[in-house]
Amino acid sequence: MNPPASSPATVVSLRGITTRFGRNVVHEELDLDVARGEIVALVGGSGSGKTTLLRHIIGLTRPAAGTVQLFGELLQAGDRSARLSRQRRFGVLFQQGALFSAFTVGENIAFPMRELGIMSAAEIDDLVALKLAMVEMEPEHSVLMPAELSGGMVKRAALARALALEPELLLLDEPTAGLDPERSASFVRLIRALHGDLGLTVVLITHDLDTLAAMASKVAVLADRRILSYAPLEETLRVDHPFIERFFRGAQGQRALARATGAN
């Protein structure tokens, strides 16, 4: 078998995704392609199936119909080790952080590295210190337990863990939910800096227009069971649809957009 071409331009490719919960159809014939290096924000109303779509990409759930391709390969393709190595190419930041509460922060970040089984203890220590520095935490934080961290710190530690195995794709579920505006803005800056430094592709779910306006290179609007529009923010705003009207052109939306355009 040939090694995969240097880097397929499409990192995530969803084709004809249909999801049903009982009689409730969440997605119907949904398509989405995420190109390398993009920061794609997935927006949609509550219950529109954003998190479900993210879970399809991670492989935690399987759609009723349709295919999920990551890095140009089918998500379920290959044997156990092939699937495992594909899973190690992306990192996930869950909404609540999902840090292992019985481990310290340092052990949490070291966990995926230990599981990989090829790194020495000294390398793991150095890399944990490096990942902590990347997310702007101090080495002393490594001995804290997750329960001792504030909400913003939990997100940072979870991001450090998501970055542990040098992922090419980062999946973020509500990265700034529950953070105050200042922390939220600094978290956004952090992810943008990492995106620039590491050449990451980022898919994030967000309700926060500030986050969206500050980060996303493209906005995927999930409504009516499909991707309604998939374009940069300015073009998305021109789409005529009740959801986009409500979501972006409300008072809060106007403020956030004014700030974003002012900043640019």
Partner: protein, 376 residues
Amino acid sequence: MSPGGQAEARQGGSLVLTPASARLSGDWTLRALGPQLPGLRRQLRMASADAAWSLEAVERLDSFGATLLWQAWGRRWPTQLSLRPAHRQTLERVARSAERPLPQLSAFTPIDAVVALGGALIAFLAHVRDFVALLGQIFLDLLHVLRHPRDWPWLEISANVHKVGVKAMPVTALVGFLIGVVLSYLSSLQLKVFGADVFIVNILGLGIIRELGPVLVSVLVAGRSGSAMTAQLGVMRVTEEIDALAAMGVSCSLRLVLPKVIALGLVMPLLVLWTSTIALLGGWVSAWVELDLSLRYFVDALPDAVPVANVYIGLSKGAVFGVLIALVACHFGLRVKPNTESLSANTTASVVTAITAVILVDALFAIATKSIGIPG
């Protein structure tokens, strides 16, 4: 290097060593290096930081590759180094964070042993203090509801009675029946040898009603309901539900602890009665098969063999054990900290402590009632 070298390097990093120089090429990333890592590590160990390092042919360098190199260089910059600016940034980041290593846990010393011992003692005293405080709180709550009958948590008590009592009946009956069968079978084998068949009624009656029934039910209830109470209170603590109750001015001990204690205190004697009856029935079945003892004889002989005081002892043991199990379960439940380890440790401690306490108190009962209800 030649273009050919680069094409090959797509599959992973490689290293060409001469005594005075080290020339790197290809992808120095975690994924690309993975398969050939042991060989590369060996090569890197032979290389010296004083050689001329050339990283210009390196295609990609991630923080793992940079850490690998930084450690190979002995955590300092080599004297001669040429590389692309982007890769220098990556290496600088590794160098910066390596200056501030993680705090290391120190090795175990005799002083730590003393500290651990002292810590255990203090923890034990804290347990005793908290338990006494819980007892006091329950007592105050009882006084309160006696003076304000409207505040009795009837609904919670009844829900707990259903949960720990009614729903526990099948499992206690099953275990009681089987224990009765086994006990009776083994005893009757022995009794047959001596021709003392009829004494099976004395053995089963006294053993089950006075001793085995209450202890057996306590062990089952501690494992079944005690652990559930601890886990429930623990999770309510973790999810801040207890704080939410306190914020609404609802007393946690009055609504959560007191109903459990009262319910288990009420229900346990009934469970003891139920389980002992079923265990005696199981004992009779076995005696009927082995010794051909009729049910009529069994029932007739039971009151003569077992003075009625034993029933009262068994029932009061049940009530005391029930209160004890509920108190221990609530005590540990309220100590759960918001992590999985603490939840599992406290649930385990709750069951183990409850069973141990029950057996200790059972010994006290045995001494205190040694002249009551023993026939002959």
